[in-house]
Every structure is written in structure tokens, then in C-alpha cells.
Amino acid sequence: MLEAPAIAALTILVLALFVGVEIISKVPPLLHTPLMSGSNAISGITVVGAILLAGSENNPLATWLGFAAVVFATVNVVGGFLVTNRMLAMFKKNPKSEK
């Protein structure tokens, strides 16, 4: 059978899925591209797992796999947030020429 931590994690998973469906359904199609790049950045959270594996005392294989994971996940985090920010800055309401 599953031990208690696994049940706790499963509970979190199911609840987070419900929250995800609720809030994402409210995102208008206008913002679907920033939603994708922004959620890419959020899935870069894998970086915290990668940091722990790369940075703790480990065998060389685990350290280097962890290092590569840190690089990929950080590209996701930094690239994702920056490009989303760049896109969102372009969405403007009523520029001067409208009037």
C-alpha cells in the first residue's frame, strides 16, 4: 500500500489540478500565448530538485546530470518569465492614435 507522504502528495496533486482547471479556464484566448510561456516558466520549478541533486555530496554521474538539469530548468525559468513579460508589455489599451 501507499505510505502516508505519497497519499499527501496525491491529495495535493488532485487539489492543484482542480485549482488549475478553475483559474486557467478564466484566461481569455487573447492571452493564450503568454499563458503558455508563463506556465513554461512555472514548470521550470524542477530547478529546485535539480539544485539539490547537483549541489549535495553525490557521485559524479548524479552531480553532472543534476548540473545539466539546473541549466535546462533555469533556461525555462528565466527565458519563460522574461519573454512573457516582453509580450505582456505589448498588450495596450486605447493608444493615443485612437482618439
Binding site: P28, L35, I45, L53, G55, N58, L65
Partner: protein
């Protein structure tokens, strides 16, 4: 003590992610939402760095520095028209990180002789499988979008059977690894199979179906992070991964609904391949002719118009015509004409592609109208200007039951008083389906590059 602190920091980060995503529900708060999520990530990373267990700082800092540099350069250099490629790559990197973390964890447990129990072996399998196929699937999607390889579906004899065999072999290896999760050879074998599956799953999907593929891979990258969270017993990964997984799944569903096709049909239907093989002039190809008009002819119609709806498609992105479109819009608005944009959910190569391009060209977002909202307005509209869109305005979807796209929701441009279609040639669109719109009495074709024609049109309207 430090574990309590780090758990608390992860909770704060998760709350900030949720609030950030919630702020994406309006363009007014979206930028703030993105920053909130970024702050959440910063808190999670800094706390992780400061917690006990990290002893080798140089390698971690080096990894973060290299990743930040690549990410920052890519994010600031990328053209808005290339955004689908950027998102495809980011999806792939997310998958890669999950595979690597799972591999590192297994290797670390082998050294410590710490045999995984409970749900962990299954989570290792899921991380490697989903992460691996997300990586190569995304790379293929990138190559198709970047036109490094043909966009058309790639098919070979007995494709479905070969794929099914490989999928079954993968399943067997999954079970083997699940039973003996600390076996590095099995882990490597599963990684190889997952990478192969990613390639095989995406090569038979056509370029026009990329919005669905990108949304699905986006979801997979989240699910891979979620599985990795179970491997490491890390709630931050589980929460964030499932948020992203849910987001990608919703987008996938919206894209499929907008094409009136099931996900299975998109993934395995090889849409557009059958026609690609047909010889020109083969049966079913329309032999009727259309009359080509010039931008000057169009200017006459525009001078009498009071309302115009522009329908952008992938052709606008290819021609980089968004700024020229904005100029034309300015001229029309100055002449007292009401101009709106009709955005089909699958226009372009990724969800929301057209909105980003038009926003880049300073078109205010109130003018970008969704399909359901704008369709009732076409009958009262004087001119519909179709710019590099094809299948999403094809009335066959409404009228011709034998058409492959019958039942797909379309923008009903043919109901407008006049329709201008700007197109490079009479070649049918990507799906290879003839468009009866081009032969309608109220339709006028203008042939040429979208950007060039729009600039000429703008000059003609100005000087009329």
C-alpha cells in the same frame, strides 16, 4: 527546522504561482501576474540554495548562470513571429530537466543504496517517459515550425503498427524499471525509447496542427515536473507541475474543439497528407477560375465602407505583415471606418499567436475579437479582409458535408457585403482543401505577398 522553513517557502511560492495565473485572466493585470509568479520562483530557488544539503555551490551557481544567460538572450532576441518555436523549445527543456533529475536521483540512490519504495518507482518511470518524449517531440515541433524539416506529415508503410510495437516495448521496459528502479541500464533503455517515441509521435502531424501539439507538449512538460515532484517528495514540483499540466490540457481541448476534431484524430490522423500526394488537376480539384483584383479596385470599395473586419492567419505571420496591417488600420480609422479583427482560436501556429503579433504592432486589444462574438457582426459588415487565412474561413465547413473540415467552427466572412482575400496563389491551404469562398460572387482575390499588398492597399486608400 530547515525542512519546515523550506516547505513554508514552497507553499508561499505555490500561492504566488496560483495568484499569478489568476491575474492572467485580464490583460490589465496579466503583467503583474507574471511578476508575482516570478517572485514565487525566486523565493523557491533562494530558499533551496540556502537550505542544508547544498554543499557544492560553484557547480550550482555555474548551472544557474549558464541557464540564465541562454534564457535571457533567447527571450530578448526572439522575434514575435517566432514565438511558437520559442514555446516549443521551452516545453522541450522542461521535459529534459525532468529526465535528468530522475536520472540524477536514481544514480544518487544507487550510491547510497537507498531503494525507492511506494509510489517513487512509478514516479521515476513517469518522469523519464513523459520527460523524454516531451523533449524530442518538442524538438521535432520546433524543427517543423522553424522549417528545418518539412511541415507536411511524414508517413511510412505500416507506421501505426511499428509505433504500436515500440509503444508496447516501452510499456514492458516501464514495468521492468518499475520493479527494479535502481537499474541504470533499464533506465537508459527507457530514456532511449521515450526519446524515440517523442520523434515518432510528432513527425506524422502536419504543420497546421501544431497549435494542438504545442499545447499538448506544454501539458506534458507540466506532468513531467509533477512526476518528478513525486520522485523527490517535493510538494512545490507537484503543485506547479499539475497547474501547468491542467493549463496545457485545457488549451489542447480548446484547440481540438476549434477544429471540430478529436485529439486522437489530430495525433494519428495525418491531416493533409492524403491531398499532398494527389496530382494537380486530379478529381475534386476545382477547375473554376477566379478574377484577380488589384489594391486600387479594393480602395474603391474601402472608400464607400463604414465597417471593416480583418481576419488574420498564418500568412500574416509568414509575411511579417502585422505592422503594415496596423498602418492600414490607422488610415481606415482616420477615414471614419470602424475596424475590428476576428481571431479564430487556431489561426497561426500556436494558441493566441495572432493576438501577440497584433499587440506587437500596437493594435489595441479591444479590437481583437473572438470568433463567437464577431460572427454575428459579419452580415452588417461592409468589407471582410482575409489576410493569409484559409481553412478558418472556409464555408465548406458549414455547407459541404463531404468536406474533411465539415463541422469545424469558422469565421463567417462570406456573409459580409464584400470579401477581399489576400493570398500568394490559388494553391489550397495547408490542409489541401479547396476553398469555395474564393469563387463566391462577393469575393475578390488579390494575389501577392500579404505585406506588399497591404502596403499598396494603404497607399491606394490614402490617395483615393
Amino acid at each position: 527546522m530547515s525542512t519546515t522553513l523550506i516547505q513554508f517557502a514552497y507553499l508561499v511560492a505555490a500561492v504566488l504561482f496560483i495568484l499569478g495565473l489568476r491575474n492572467l485572466s485580464s490583460p490589465r493585470t496579466a503583467a503583474l501576474g507574471n511578476r508575482m509568479a516570478a517572485v514565487g520562483m525566486f523565493i523557491a530557488i533562494v530558499t533551496t540554495l540556502l537550505v542544508q544539503g547544498v554543499v557544492d555551490y560553484p557547480i550550482v551557481i555555474a548551472g544557474i548562470a549558464v541557464g540564465s544567460l541562454i534564457g535571457a538572450v533567447a527571450a530578448t532576441r526572439i522575434q514575435m513571429t517566432d514565438m511558437p518555436q520559442m514555446v516549443a523549445l521551452l516545453n522541450g527543456f522542461g521535459g529534459a530537466a525532468s529526465v535528468l533529475v530522475a536520472g540524477a536521483e536514481v544514480s544518487s540512490r544507487i550510491s547510497a543504496n537507498d531503494i525507492p519504495e511506494g509510489i517513487v518507482p512509478a514516479a521515476i518511470v513517469a518522469s523519464v517517459l513523459i520527460g523524454g518524449l516531451t523533449l524530442t517531440g518538442s524538438l521535432i515541433a520546433f524543427a517543423k515550425l522553424q522549417e528545418l524539416m518539412r511541415g507536411a506529415p511524414i508517413q511510412y508503410p505500416a507506421q501505426q503498427y511499428i509505433n504500436a510495437l515500440i509503444a508496447m516495448a516501452t510499456l514492458v521496459v516501464c514495468v521492468l524499471l518499475g520493479m527494479d528502479p535502481l537499474n541504470l541500464e533499464t533506465l537508459a533503455l527507457l530514456t532511449g525509447l521515450a526519446l524515440l517515441l517523442g520523434v515518432l509521435l510528432v513527425i506524422p502531424i502536419g504543420g497546421a496542427d501544431m497549435p494542438v501539439v504545442i499545447a499538448l507538449l506544454n501539458s506534458y512538460s507540466g506532468l513531467a515536473a509533477c512526476a518528478t515532484g513525486f520522485v523527490l517528495d517535493n510538494s512545490a514540483l507537484v503543485i506547479s507541475g499539475s497547474l501547468v499540466g491542467a493549463s496545457g490540457l485545457i488549451l489542447t481541448k480548446i484547440m481540438c474543439d476549434a477544429m471540430n476534431r478529436s485529439l486522437a484524430n489530430v495525433l494519428f490522423g495525418a491531416f493533409g497528407a492524403q491531398v499532398a500526394g494527389a496530382a494537380p488537376g486530379a478529381e475534386g480539384v476545382d477547375q473554376r477560375t477566379v478574377t484577380a483584383y488589384t489594391p486600387l479596385d479594393a480602395a474603391v470599395i474601402f472608400s464607400n465602407a463604414r465597417s471593416v473586419i480583418v481576419v488574420p492567419g498564418y500568412g500574416m505571420a509568414v509575411a511579417q505583415a502585422q505592422h503594415a496591417v496596423r498602418e492600414l488600420t490607422n488610415t481606415l480609422v482616420e477615414n471614419g471606418i470602424e475596424v475590428n479583427f476576428a481571431i479564430h482560436p487556431v489561426a497561426g501556429r500556436m494558441p493566441g499567436h495572432m493576438n501577440v503579433l497584433l499587440a506587437e504592432a500596437d493594435v489595441p486589444y479591444e479590437r481583437l475579437v473572438e470568433m463567437d462574438e464577431i460572427n454575428p457582426q459579419f452580415p452588417e459588415t461592409d468589407v471582410a479582409l482575409v489576410l493569409g487565412a484559409n481553412d478558418v474561413v472556409n464555408p465548406a465547413a458549414r455547407e459541404d458535408e463531404s468536406s474533411p473540415i465539415y463541422g469545424m467552427p469558422i469565421l463567417e466572412v462570406d456573409r459580409a457585403q464584400h470579401v477581399f482575400v489576400i493570398k500568394r496563389s490559388m494553391n489550397p491551404g495547408f490542409a489541401g482543401i479547396q476553398n469555395p469562398l474564393f469563387f463566391k460572387e462577393n469575393t475578390m482575390m488579390i494575389f501577392g505577398d500579404a505585406k506588399k499588398v497591404v502596403i499598396e492597399l494603404n497607399d491606394a486608400v490614402k490617395n483615393y
